[in-house]
Structure formats: structure tokens, C-alpha cells
Amino acid sequence: MSGRGTAAGGGVTFGHTELPEEQSAALRRAIRLAWGTIAFLLVGVTLVYLVMGSSQAMKAAWAEDLLSFIPPMSFLVAVRFARRRPTTAHPYGYHRSVGVGHLVAAAALLAMGTFLVLDSGSGLLAAEHPPVGVMHLGDHVFWAGWPMIGAMVLTGIPPVLLGRAKMPLARTLHDRVLYADADMNKADWMTALGSVVGILGIGAGLWWADSAAALFISVSILRDGIGNLRVAAGALMDARATTVDGDEPHPLTEQVDARLRALPWVEDARSRVRDQGHVFHVEAFVVPRDGRAPGLRELAEAREAATALDWKVQDLVVVPVDELPEEMLPGVAAAEGEDERRAGAGSR
């Protein structure tokens, strides 16, 4: 173990885990994209603020832009912490920083979504008529709605490209903060389009169009917040490891079990896997054939076989048991018998 500790030399590590070339490259690119996003947001937020006026939809879009700072910043902070080595005080390492970052981002989305839904909803109920007058540049006087639409078109396109670039990196790195960020970026064009429709609505004399567009944007922010909060809280409460979008059980759990079962001395194997953020923590329970206790070498081999499967599986303990413990592996008794044949496809 201590040998691995000093092997960090040139490679990138998450705690003890040295990243394969593909993940190191993805991480470097993701960090560059996060800084790029922050730089873009600074420009976008300033631009929208300058032309915002009293449109509710523009205000909602601006708030969403402000909130968009949180995921890339959480990502940069979380990654910085996650790379620290485990210490005596933090024997599991700092991987959970990803979970904390994700929770913070989700809570911010939820709070802002709630505020904006109430704000634009009350505007709609009170039949507020948004005034949009003129702006002037030197001697040139024009309707203030046009620069608003221009700003929304300009700030609506780049996030979509950023989101599309980040999404595959989030999967490669198994990084939930990056995933949430990419997901929000990808949805940004709807915000921009919503604001443009709201402003054109004001121009056409439909006073409710702006509040309605703002409500639509706020509901999408609120929904993002609820979805992310569910996944983030679940991961922090040691839910079983899932794919990065939180939708399905992670296939690695099955793969670890199958790999261990394939060892000649193993009768049955089941593991309990939690997502620490980027990497997994695996407790593998193995039942040796004929109740014969495995030797130290066999146990070391089992560990190596499982950790060779994927870079995310490093922190793994192998526990020989005479039968799979139901109290640590809920559902094991019910699934008895069909165990051997459950190759590949994850069951819910």
C-alpha cells in the first residue's frame, strides 16, 4: 500500500487511486471547461444585468445564470479536495467532497427555484404589467426589448456547447457535480428561448407572456433542484452505487460479484458498494467452497482480481464468511438460488 502512495509522480490521483490516462485527460479537460464556464458566465451575467430592465423573465434568466456559477465552482473545489490523500483523521480519503459539492449546488437550485416560482407566480396572479421603455446609445433611441433579446440569444448558445462537451467527461470521471453542471448547461437554451418569447410577448401587448415565461423557467430550475437533491442526498446516505445520472444501479457491483464467483475456491460472493464520489468503497463477502478457510494468498488474489476490473474499485475489503449475511446484504435470502445466473443485467 505504501508503495502505491509514492507512485503519484507524474500521474493524477484521487486519494490513493491513480487515474488511468483516459480519466487524467478527462479531468484536465473538465477543469479547463469549468474555468471556461466561469469566464463565460461573468460576461453573460454582466450583459444580461445591463439590459434586464423590469422583465420578470429576464430576471429569472439572470438568476439562473448567477446560480450556474455554483456547479463549476463546486466541481473545482470538490476535485481539489478529492485529490488529497487519506490521513489518520480521514481514513476513507476526501472523496465525499463531491457529494458535499453536489448537495450544495442542489440546495441552491431548489431555493432559487422556489423563490422564482413564487415571484413570477404572484406576478401572474396580481396581473402585473411589465413596463419596457426605450434605451438610448448616443442619439440613437430604440425599444429596450431588442437588446434584451440580443443578450438572451448571445448567452443562450455557448452553455449548450459547454454542456455537450462536459457530459461525456462526467461519465468518464463518474463525477456527479460535473454531470449536474452539464445537465443545467444543456437546458440553458430553453431559458433563453423562454425569455425571448416573454419579451416578444410584452412587445405584442400580451402582459402575461413575460410572467408566464418566467414561471416556465422557474419551474425548470425547481425541477433541476429537486432531482439533484434526491441523488445527492441519496449518495451521502450511502445508497447503493448508481450510474452518474442516478437512474440505475451501477453495473460494476454485478461485475465485482461475478469476478469473485469465478475464482476456483469461491462458492458464492456478494458485495455491498457505496459511491464515495468518483470512486467506490466495496465490501465483498465471499463464501469459500466446502467451508474451507482461504489462505492469505488466495485472499490477496481475490482482491487483486476485483480491483483490476475498474479504476473506481480500489478501496475494497474481502471478507470470508460461511454464509452471506442477510443483515449486511438486504435481499440476499430472497434472491438465493437464482444468484449464479444473474449475469450482466442489473436488477432493481
Binding site: 421603455g133 433611441v141 405584442a204 401587448g205
Partner: protein, 158 residues
């Protein structure tokens, strides 16, 4: 998806252009033109001055009269306290309220404060932008008024 969005935008633009863009939800500009401009005025010399038996005077009263002329409209003056007049504006019983309002006016949730038509130093020497109060959301009227103020009355001094 993207094509539908484009069509929607075009449709919205066309709908907007046919009836003037931006348009008034309650048709203020159309109603005022060639008829009467209902203006609330509260005394705040030298911007607005009220004397018994005489029509309102002062700098803003003159600007309003000029503006009404461009619309071919008579000015129908109503005097009262600021709060009462703003209330009437909100209720749609007035089309414009003047009284030496500044950009720091607390009425921005009840009225559309115009873009400043002049900026003069206040009693402490700080620059103070002067505005008028129009009905919320009557954007054709607001744009007409603001364009008039910006083009005709840049840097008026009391």
C-alpha cells in the same frame, strides 16, 4: 424542435408588428391620440407649479403640453397628492403623473418611471435624474413618451 421554436418566434414577431411594436395591452396611446391626455399633477416648483384660478405651469407642465400637442390631444389636468394621483394612474384613470419625480422615486412598483429626461444636481450637489410616471405595461405609450423626452428635452435646466 428548433424549427418549431423558429416558427413561433416569427409568428410572435409578425403578430407584434401588425399592431405597432411594442403594443399597449390596454390601448392607451390609441385612445389618447386625437382625444385627451389625462395628466395628474402635484405641486413641486420649479418642475410643477399650481396657482388658484390659473392652469398648471412649470417646466414639466410645459413639456407635457408639448407632448400632448404631438399626439394632437388636449391635456385634461387633475390635481391632488402624489399618492392619490399614483393610485389613479394604477387604476387606469390617469395616463401620466408629473410632480418633479426623480429616479429614486418609491413608486417604481406602481408606475412605469420614464428614462431620465434631464439630470440636475440636487440640494447636496449629487446628480439627480428627473423622470415622469406612466402606467405600468402600456409600452407603446411609454416608448412614444420616452422617445419624445429624449429627442426634445435632453439636458433641460430649471
Amino acid at each position: 424542435m428548433r424549427r418549431t421554436a423558429g416558427l413561433l418566434l416569427t409568428a410572435a414577431l409578425l403578430a407584434g408588428c401588425s399592431g405597432g411594436f411594442p403594443a399597449d395591452p390596454d390601448g392607451t396611446l390609441e385612445r389618447v391620440t386625437g382625444d385627451a391626455l389625462r395628466v395628474g399633477i402635484t405641486a413641486n416648483p420649479p418642475w410643477t407649479e399650481l396657482e388658484d384660478g390659473a392652469p398648471p405651469s412649470g417646466l414639466e407642465a410645459e413639456i407635457v403640453a408639448e407632448f400632448a400637442e404631438t399626439l394632437d390631444a388636449e391635456v385634461d389636468w387633475t390635481t391632488g397628492s402624489e399618492e392619490a394621483l399614483i393610485g389613479d394612474l394604477e387604476a387606469g384613470e390617469l395616463d401620466l403623473v408629473v410632480g418633479g419625480f426623480t429616479g429614486r422615486s418609491p413608486w417604481s412598483a406602481q408606475a412605469a418611471l420614464t428614462t431620465p429626461y434631464t439630470t440636475v444636481p440636487d440640494e447636496h450637489g449629487e446628480p439627480e435624474p428627473h423622470v415622469m410616471a406612466a402606467p405600468l405595461g402600456e409600452n407603446a405609450f411609454l416608448v412614444r413618451l420616452e422617445t419624445f423626452l429624449l429627442e426634445q428635452h435632453r439636458d433641460v435646466l430649471p
